[in-house]
Amino acid sequence: MSPVVRLRSVVCLLGRFPALAGVDLDVEAGEVVLLSGGNGAGKTTLLRVVAGLVPVHQGAAEVLGTDLTRDRRGHRSRLALVGQEAAAYDDLTVLENVRFAARTTGRSDADADTVVGELGLTPLADVRHGRLSTGQRRRLGLAVGLVRRPELLLLDEPHAGLDVPGRAFLDGVLASASDSGTAVLIASHELDLVRPVADREVVLTNGRTPPGDDPTGDPTGEPGSEPGVVR
């Protein structure tokens, strides 16, 4: 079976700046991959490339069977990108925001109500997004993403703004998503929090994965070692 995400020598320019300058990455179904690297390394851009929100200027990119160099929209309804903002409307309540996200992907209001319950948002169902705390907004962002029942979940700094119970809850959500076969790609600086739930880590440096980095190969010849993979 082909990987959910398959990138080869991907280059992405933001203006003239090469935000990604050669990225190789595979993510399999059910796998949780941590994407680490310093500020400006290209983690968020990589998530947006995979989501099809920004174009691939060079290289090969296939996500959920869609060739992103030809079509950046075909796979979108099958993935969810949970960014540092909730992709929600300030004047809609928690339930209305999740229901809107559900309806746009052909899910029912009952699906939305279920996800709101699963994420512990029922007590906040009638509260407008604009009145939520940072941590509550992060939880709503996750609900907006999960209601789509994505095959690929892209998370950008998911632990930011969450308290200790919220982080534990997120870990449970990630484990559950992974168990159900959802591929998860997490960009984060909070390595100590994500490493325990990640299957492996890929390091981005200046928009590149490490040299000689064909994820299908094994340049070191050591069992279990993958290029660009720390653990």
Partner: protein, 224 residues
């Protein structure tokens, strides 16, 4: 999902947000009334003059107020990365265009009804032939909403969108201002036969911009 069902989802969301935020009722409508009053002060207290120029004043006021509503319509998509959510939703971009244009048209229609009451009371205008007057208003509203949605998304990703939208849009919608004003003048005077050609022009403009919008909105949303 059908294109109309998807458009309904987007329009329902925009109208619900508007009903909550009350920007049209608490900001755009008072703005329109103030503009009408300023025109009345600036021109002449003689109601004969105001009656004659009322159609032009009405549609200039609608146009200026529409710019605020357009800016608001895309402002809500700029908050909290909501536009990314819309792009990732899987909705057909044509549906998103129709939904946002429909919501904008409903808001403008409500505004126009209230403003019509304003010119009847303030300027002592008698509406005359109501059918061509109403059809002209419907066609002009659809045209403004479609053109506004198109230019709104064009400027959506630009920081200076509040100033860019009027510069881009006002020259393009000049035929709406002209056609609607002439149609209303003829209708108010009871000269129905003079009104219909202008109603036709407004209809052509509306159809043209709905068509262009459905084709162009997707690529523009991607670039915004």
């Amino acid at each position: 999902m059908s294109i109309w069902r998807e458009a309904g989802i987007v329009a329902g969301k925009d109208l619900r947000i508007e009903r909550r935020a009350r920007v049209v009722s608490q900001q755009i409508l008072p703005f329109g009334v103030i503009v009408l009053l300023l025109f009345a002060f600036a021109l002449d207290p003689d109601r004969g003059v105001l009656r004659r120029v009322a159609p032009g004043l009405f549609w200039v006021t609608v146009l200026l107020s529409a710019l605020l509503a357009i800016s608001r319509s895309f402002g809500i998509e700029s908050e909290n990365a909501a536009r990314d959510g819309l792009r990732l939703s899987g909705l057909d971009p044509s549906s998103v265009f129709l939904g946002k244009a429909l919501a904008l048209a409903v808001e403008l229609a409500v505004f126009e009804v209230l403003l019509t009451a304003g010119i009847v009371v303030l300027f002592d205008v008698h509406l005359g032939a109501v059918v061509p007057l109403a059809l002209a208003a419907v066609a002009a509203t659809v045209g403004l909403a479609a053109a506004g949605t198109l230019y709104g998304v064009l400027a959506a990703g630009i920081r200076a969108r509040e100033t860019l939208v009027p510069v881009l849009m006002l020259p393009v919608v000049a035929p709406v201002l002209l056609g609607a004003t002439r149609a209303w003048e003829a209708s108010i005077d009871g000269a129905t036969s003079d009104a219909w050609p202008w109603v036709g022009l407004l209809g052509v403009f509306a159809v043209l911009f709905v068509g262009i919008g459905m084709l162009a909105f997707g690529p523009l949303l991607e670039e915004s």
